[in-house]
Amino acid sequence: MLTYTFRRVLISIPTLLFIAFVIFMLLELAPGDPMASMPLTIPPEVRQEMRLALGLGEPWYVRFPLWLRQFFVVEPQYWIDNAFGTNFADGAQRIISFQSRSPVFDTIAQRMPQTLWVVGMSYVVGVLIALPIGIISAYRQYSVFDQAGTFVSMIGFSVPPFFSGVLLIVIFSVQLKWLPSIYDTTHVVDDWNSFIFQLKQMIMPVMVLALQTTAQVSRYMRASMLDNLGQDYVRTARAKGMSESVVVMKHVVRNSMIPVVTVIALGIPSIFGGAIITEQIFKVNGLGQLLIIALQGSDIPMVMTITFLLAVLIVMMNLIADILYGILDPRIRYD
């Protein structure tokens, strides 16, 4: 397993380099001018100079290796310098945002906690709701509970977050006035009341995102459970005198989780994509919002870096899914 993991990590390096190149070239070929959002009063010659100052005068085969060097060498050096007080970076140029003129990674580090709280929490909540729904739906197939579960899943699949989010705001913020419609990122949790406020402002974005996760994962879990409930080994477990809870929760769930774990792991990157829209609606200034603003302003270094980080996440989750698969299913041996 260890050698397998190591081999997979090694293989993922060229994969990621290729992904980085594709993202870079896509941004290179895309129309858009970082100067477009500058005031119109700036004369064309000055604009041209500013463009050159951003390094846009250089061809892609100069800029791409430079970005790679900054991402893989300079940024880690800065990180180590900050952590241990060393001086490896020695004032080397970091990846700088075109828009804010500050290092991209500093901005990302600022935005990350909000996204992780909202997105991470929604994923955990979504999965925790989905698994029991899937299990009960399958065990009581075609029951009222199962039908209701199917209905909720269909809603989760078909109603996009930009609709369900706004709907929730209209109901709970505008009409009932129970929950705040805007996520206050400056809010600090230091006592019970502020904790309650944090909960209140998280409920809606978390629920909107969790609905999607729940819809997907519960369907997979249900299908996988149904597959396994009809298996011969279930009859064997019952014939051994095991109680229904042991039969279902131990024998069947353990088998059913094998494909579902893969779905859960692979779904993590896509939930970040879903967060982009949800963050816009609830005004959470997280990574998704940052990416949108960067895209609108043709902030190439920012877009490039965030997109690449998402690619790293996807490759990592693929690896984790495969490893978990091997742990859960003894029939799979990688070595």
Partner: protein
């Protein structure tokens, strides 16, 4: 067999119905039999004759819906298993009655090692702690002839061959010293040499442990070799029931006779074609009001279409459900 001993398992008028979209399928119709201690009862019949469904009905192992065990009594240990609460029934399952299923490739849980799967009933029914259960599991694997038992406890089912997996299944069924072992076509999914090994093992275990066995099969050759008594099933009913020698020497029901003719023999001329029984077994969409075998029967007459024959007692523990008397060559008296 000690005649007159009280039966360990006494089944009376068992009725099981499957509810389907097209209506109710009467899979088991008034099946009655008794199993004496230490005896091996063979149950024979073609696919769909209700052999497995009967045995699974006894322990409530059929999924419900669609299955519905509608009537009868199953007396075991002073209780009617069809009426006891779920907890009592679970104590019987795997504890006092062991079950071995047909396909060893799918009957074991692929994600747990065999040690855990053998220890599960031991811990539940015998209340053993982990160490004692592991020790007993190892003894059981040795008992069913799996070499290197201690090491194999931590192996997973996929690391065993088909025959070895069936041995593991037998070890699980025998784990808690059951009074009755129900083996549902335990050798059907195995190739012939492995079949012979499993048969030998079962004979040996039965003489060693002395439990009563119900052996379901569609192979009369297997039955001839191991059974004390044989029950022939057709269309969800018992059509003939006799001590094994009597059945082979003196079959009374036309279905039994036809079945015996289908066995290819190694003596004499090689037959040009194997004998077959023409037609299909019936799907019982109605409660039987006529003999289920009449359409395929060569001695059927008009009464067979009007009434369902009861089981006529022919003496010496032999009975057959047929209006035609093979001994006289004519209809039985009404």
């Amino acid at each position: 067999m000690p005649d007159g001993a009280l039966p360990v398992l006494d089944v009376r008028d068992l009725k099981t119905v499957f509810k389907t979209r097209a209506g109710e399928v009467h899979a088991v119709n008034d099946v009655s039999f008794a199993l004496k201690p230490g005896e091996l009862l063979g149950v024979v019949g073609e696919s769909g004759s209700g052999k497995s469904v009967t045995m699974m009905s006894l322990l409530g192992l059929l999924p419900s819906p669609p299955a519905d065990v509608r009537g009868g009594t199953v007396t075991f240990g002073g209780n009617d298993l069809l009426k006891v609460d779920a907890e009592t029934l679970r104590a019987v399952r795997g504890g006092k009655i062991g079950f071995v299923f047909q396909d060893p490739m799918t009957s074991l849980n692929p994600v747990f090692n065999v040690g855990m799967q053998i220890m599960e009933p031991l811990r539940k029914h015998m209340g053993l702690n982990k160490r004692d259960a592991a020790k007993r599991a190892q003894e059981l694997l040795e008992l069913v002839g799996i070499p290197d038992a201690e090491r194999r406890l931590t192996d997973y089912p996929h690391q065993f061959s088909g025959g070895m997996r069936q041995r593991v299944m037998i070890a699980i069924a025998l784990a808690c010293d059951p009074q009755v072992l129900i083996a549902d076509e335990p050798t059907t999914a195995l190739d012939v040499t492995i079949q012979a090994q499993i048969l030998e093992l079962m004979k040996e275990l039965r003489s060693k442990l002395g439990m009563a066995v119900i052996w379901i099969t569609h192979d009369l050759g297997v039955i001839a070799g191991i059974a004390d008594r044989v029950m022939v099933m057709y269309g969800g009913q018992v059509v003939e029931h006799a001590p094994v020698k009597e059945l082979f020497r003196n079959p009374q029901h036309p279905y039994t006779r036809a079945l015996l003719k289908t066995i290819p023999t190694i003596h004499g001329e090689r037959a040009a074609r194997l004998t077959i029984i023409e037609g299909q077994p019936p799907i019982m969409m109605n409660a039987p009001s006529a003999c289920p075998f009449r359409d395929r029967c060569d001695v059927a007459f008009d009464r067979c279409a009007r009434e369902n024959p009861p089981r006529y007692d022919l003496g010496d523990g032999h009975d057959a459900a047929c209006f035609f008397d093979a001994r006289t060559g004519g209809p039985r008296d009404a």
